[in-house]
């Protein structure tokens, strides 16, 4: 399933659609960046409530397919622009982390 298809199925609000045709191969949820860094896999949909610039660095380094900011979290100022510069797919959703995880798992 591509990022765009996943975003449509989950009614995600796009913040940065850098590479919408990228394939999503798994999922990971977490907010402790070191933890995510060591465990998220390339191609994952990463669901988090963290909203700062460092999220983009971690997404870049783990090669996540997309980042979903859950629970209505808004990205900090400058994060959208940084995502664009780094080519990171960034979306947001009003749904809680738990239900987003369940839906992503059901779709993949």
């Amino acid at each position: 399933m591509t990022v765009q298809e996943l975003a449509q199925q989950l009614s995600l609000e796009p913040i940065c659609q850098a590479e919408p045709d990228r394939e999503v191969t798994g999922g990971y949820a977490g907010d402790l960046l070191s933890w995510v860094m060591g465990r998220a896999q390339s191609g994952d949909a990463w669901i988090t409530i963290m909203s700062n610039n460092n999220v983009i660095a971690v997404a870049t380094l783990t090669d996540a397919a997309l980042v979903i900011l859950a629970e209505n979290v808004l990205p900090d100022p400058g994060v959208a622009q940084l995502a664009e510069r780094k080519g990171i797919n960034l979306y947001r959703s009003s749904e809680p982390v738990f239900s987003l995880c369940a839906k992503v798992a059901a779709l993949l």
């Binding site: 402790l32 960046l33 933890w35 390339s42 963290m50 999220v55 660095a57 783990t62 090669d63």
Partner: protein, 139 residues
């Protein structure tokens, strides 16, 4: 065989740009055609070191030496040093502030992650003088 060397200065003032050096190194290793697993382990190890230098040491430097069979990452700072290395190596142990934790760091996974994802981690540290980490990732 001579190594290909890359030097990065880690800015200790700008927390929001922390990770830039790791992203840059990842890009270079990818251009050089290293396997994705090797790139991933180098990226994790270097990012943890970079974040530690920003949180604890007001920045520092990173030198990456690339050989055909290994990548050596040397991180050096003139921060406060690590008083108890054994304690700092324990997962979950952290001296980070509440503010740092609120940003998603300070989980006490930095040094343990560096050890986990590299073949060797050597720590030279002196309280009040600084810390030098040497990590080797085998290709």
């Amino acid at each position: 065989m001579a190594a290909l060397n890359f030097h990065f200065d880690i800015d200790g003032e700008d927390f929001s740009s922390a990770g830039e050096a790791s992203v840059e190194m990842k890009k270079k290793l990818r251009q050089l055609g290293f396997p994705s697993d090797v790139i991933r382990r180098c990226s994790i190890a270097m990012y943890e070191g970079e974040i530690n230098m920003v949180i604890h040491a007001n920045g520092g430097s990173a030198d990456v030496a690339v050989y055909p069979d290994k990548i050596v990452i040397v991180l050096e700072d003139h921060g406060p040093g690590i008083p108890d290395v054994e304690l700092a190596m324990q997962e979950g142990y952290s001296t980070s502030t509440e503010q740092i934790r609120n940003m998603g760091f300070g989980a006490g996974m930095g040094l343990p992650n560096m050890k986990r994802y590299t073949e060797s981690l050597e720590i030279e540290t002196q309280v009040g003088v600084g810390t030098k980490l040497t990590m080797v990732v085998a290709v």
